[in-house]
């Protein structure tokens, strides 16, 4: 099977990347030490190739009303131009199709960014729903666009060094807000728990952009560090922390589901009819070892399972997200089955780290 490549494939190899098959894409897992790359982002700045993710433009009259119906979070929450909203997209049975971010640009244009592995599925679903509920909308997969995430306390300054023409339009962006700067779409969003920008730009320009950033001192960061950064930040990964077998309320996403308003949305009835019996909890391993996905969790209220686990370079401990029975509380000690031994872990509030600092003692 031939792996898909981003326009930055040659650049990754030139920069010494160790390449792996990531869901059918030939991607860099690290360029050396993934722990160094992790610290680099928390303390300074790093850049990620996220070209494999998909940008979708939904345009036309009624796009806001359509998204209000399509998504579990309420599109009416974003009314300031450029403001973004994180949401799950549900099936009628209440299970999660994907998690995504929408950007309100104008009343006729919302931009949507979806995960790489689910992009085709998501777009087909959106078009199917639009056909009946908003037939005048156009939903376009922006296959002409590339995307780079620059993250860390010094990230925005570096982007302005390379793209000074975007500074005026972007220096006052608040967190979770974007600006359309012509060829460059700059969003103050990210998947690391640090400040920074995600920049969408024409594919033909991304290799130069990558090298220009590198020239002003921005180091490339691989998918290994991307995973430890997002896990510390308490951010879900579709396909691990949730998928089409579970709903948002069992996946730590209750805060993104607006059940309060009278608005109907796909999956609402199922969510109301089926209160969850499990929830997502944060774990810190107390004994020596590493928590990993699918490990069994034993609690006083029944068994659970780790959905995402790893080593936290910021905390120097192992952390995880786990799906556990509802009765489990923060502060409880639970046991995790690792290689036929039961190791002790503590249930903690997450995120585990943000803005350069660990949050768990």
């Amino acid at each position: 099977m031939t792996l898909k490549t981003t326009p930055l494939n040659a650049a990754h190899r030139a920069m010494g990347a160790k390449m792996v098959d990531f869901g059918g894409w030939d991607m860099p897992v690290n360029y050396g030490s993934q722990i160094d790359e992790h610290h680099q982002v928390r303390n300074d700045v790093g850049m990620f190739d996220v070209c494999h993710m998909r940008v979708v433009d939904a345009k036309g009259d009624g796009v806001r009303a359509f998204l209000r119906y399509l998504l579990a979070n309420n599109a009416d929450k974003i009314t300031v131009p450029g403001k973004a909203l994180y949401s799950a997209m549900l099936r009628p049975d209440g299970h999660v199709i994907d998690d995504l971010i929408i950007y309100f640009m104008t009343e006729q244009w919302f931009r949507i960014v979806v995960n790489a592995g689910t992009a085709d599925k998501d777009i087909a679903w959106m078009k199917e729903q639009a056909a009946t509920h908003a037939p005048k909308l156009t939903i376009t997969s922006r296959d002409d666009l590339a995307m780079v995430a620059i993250q860390g306390p010094n990230a925005r300054a570096k982007v302005w060094q390379v793209l000074p023409q975007t500074k005026a339009a972007t220096e006052n962006l608040v967190n979770f807000q974007a600006a359309d700067c012509g060829e460059y779409f700059v969003a103050r969003t990210g998947y690391t728990g640090e400040d920074g920008f995600e920049v969408m730009l024409p594919k033909e320009k991304v290799e130069k952009f990558w090298y220009d950033l590198n020239k002003v001192g921005v180091k490339p960061i691989g998918l290994g560090a991307r995973d430890t950064l997002r896990l510390e930040a308490g951010m879900n990964l579709y396909g691990q922390d949730m998928d089409e077998t579970v709903g948002p309320l069992e996946s730590g996403l209750a805060w993104t589901v607006d059940l309060k308003s009278k608005r109907d949305f796909i999956g609402k009835a199922a969510l109301l009819a089926n209160p969850p019996t499990k929830k997502l909890a944060g774990l810190v391993l107390l004994d020596r070892g590493v928590l990993r996905g699918h490990q069994k969790v034993k609690t006083a209220h029944g068994d659970g399972e780790i959905t995402s686990g790893s080593f936290s370079p910021t905390l120097e401990k192992s952390i995880a997200l786990a799906r556990v029975p509802n009765g489990v509380q923060i502060g409880n000690t639970v046991q995790v089955e690792i290689r036929d031994k039961l190791l002790n872990a503590k249930v903690v509030k997450y995120p585990f780290a943000r803005n350069g600092k660990g949050l768990i003692s």
Binding site: I35, G289, V290, F311
Partner: protein, 129 residues
Amino acid sequence: MSNPTNLKYTASHEWVKTEADGTITVGITQHAQELLGDMVFVEAPEAGRKLQAKEECAVVESVKAAADVYAPVSGTVTAANGDLDGAPETINSDPYGAWIFKMKPDNAADVATLLDAAAYQAVVDSEAH
């Protein structure tokens, strides 16, 4: 980094050094540490433990995965490298210096049957794709 020629090797990516006193020192190779990535924990066997050849006796845990380390020959563990507790990453930066455990082989002759550097390289090459 090429495989040091003064060491012996196993097909499971351990290196073995024969010491003057007849004990052997065991670690994992450059190839193994590169595959595993940044090390975060090492569980070494306790002194006194008796091992069979190819028995799982230690675990090296990287951010990516946990890997078992196997006894190269039958014998008794004499020491574990305590320095690895605080600095497991030395396995990455210095795989042939960062030993994991030492043992006294039951039969010195068993060590001679292990792979030499060239034969080990052939194992590594056959795994490459």
